[in-house]
């Protein structure tokens, strides 16, 4: 699953560590999500979407 977290983070002038603190996960987890190595759970995806004030489908793109 692709995502736009890196772009959104840059737009909000946030580091991986900043985002990790805000959504209460480790920085490694944010990095793994950004690089597509780990897909977040629905609650975490909602947390991220709430933080960036965007619908989930605008952040996470399904690769079928």
């Amino acid at each position: 699953m692709k995502n736009k977290i890196k772009v959104l983070r840059a737009e909000h002038n946030m580091t991986q560590a900043d985002l990790a603190v805000k959504v209460e996960v480790s920085r490694q987890t944010i990095n793994a999500i950004e690089t597509g190595k780990f897909d977040p759970s629905l609650p975490l995806a909602f947390k991220i979407s709430r933080l960036f004030e965007l619908p989930i489908e605008n952040i996470f793109i399904d690769e079928v």
Binding site: K22, E24, V25, S26, Q28, T29, N31, A32, F38, L44
Partner: protein, 137 residues
């Protein structure tokens, strides 16, 4: 929100510290229960039972603390640990039984000890956690 965010990190660090204390406590009480009857109170069954009981209680505390620690991890860290546990359990069961069969068949010149199995599980868990963490890096 910052207080809440910092509290997650703080809780995580506190759980790691507490797990280390419980693990250390269990190792110490196990060592006392094991070596005490050999070097300090040889033949005193009551003392042996008391110290084995204490070691078991501390061991139960360590298990509960480990569960609390795993539950406090974030979802990716939890996945890494669950995979590592699955591998460690599998290696422990398969490796342990094969090792026991080797002993029964007199292929190995020494007795298969439970301590070897504990070491095998522990080392496997460590390696699997390390590999898992690297996979998502």
């Amino acid at each position: 929100m910052d207080t809440k965010q910092n509290s997650w990190k703080d809780t995580s660090k506190r759980n790691i510290r507490q797990l280390a204390y419980w693990t250390g406590g269990w190792v110490v009480t196990m060592a006392i229960a094991s070596f005490g009857q050999k070097y300090f109170w040889e033949g005193n069954t009551v003392l042996s039972i008391i110290f084995i009981f204490i070691a078991t209680l501390v061991g139960i505390g360590m298990i509960l603390m480990n569960r609390k620690y795993i539950n406090s991890l974030d979802e990716m860290q939890r996945k890494v640990h669950i995979e590592a546990m699955a591998i460690a359990l599998g290696v422990g069961v398969v490796g342990g039984l094969s090792y026991s069969l080797l002993d029964q068949a007199n292929v190995i010149g020494f007795d298969a000890e439970i301590a070897d199995l504990v070491m095998l599980i522990g080392i496997t868990y460590l390696i699997a956690t390390f590999v898992g963490n690297n996979k998502y890096r």
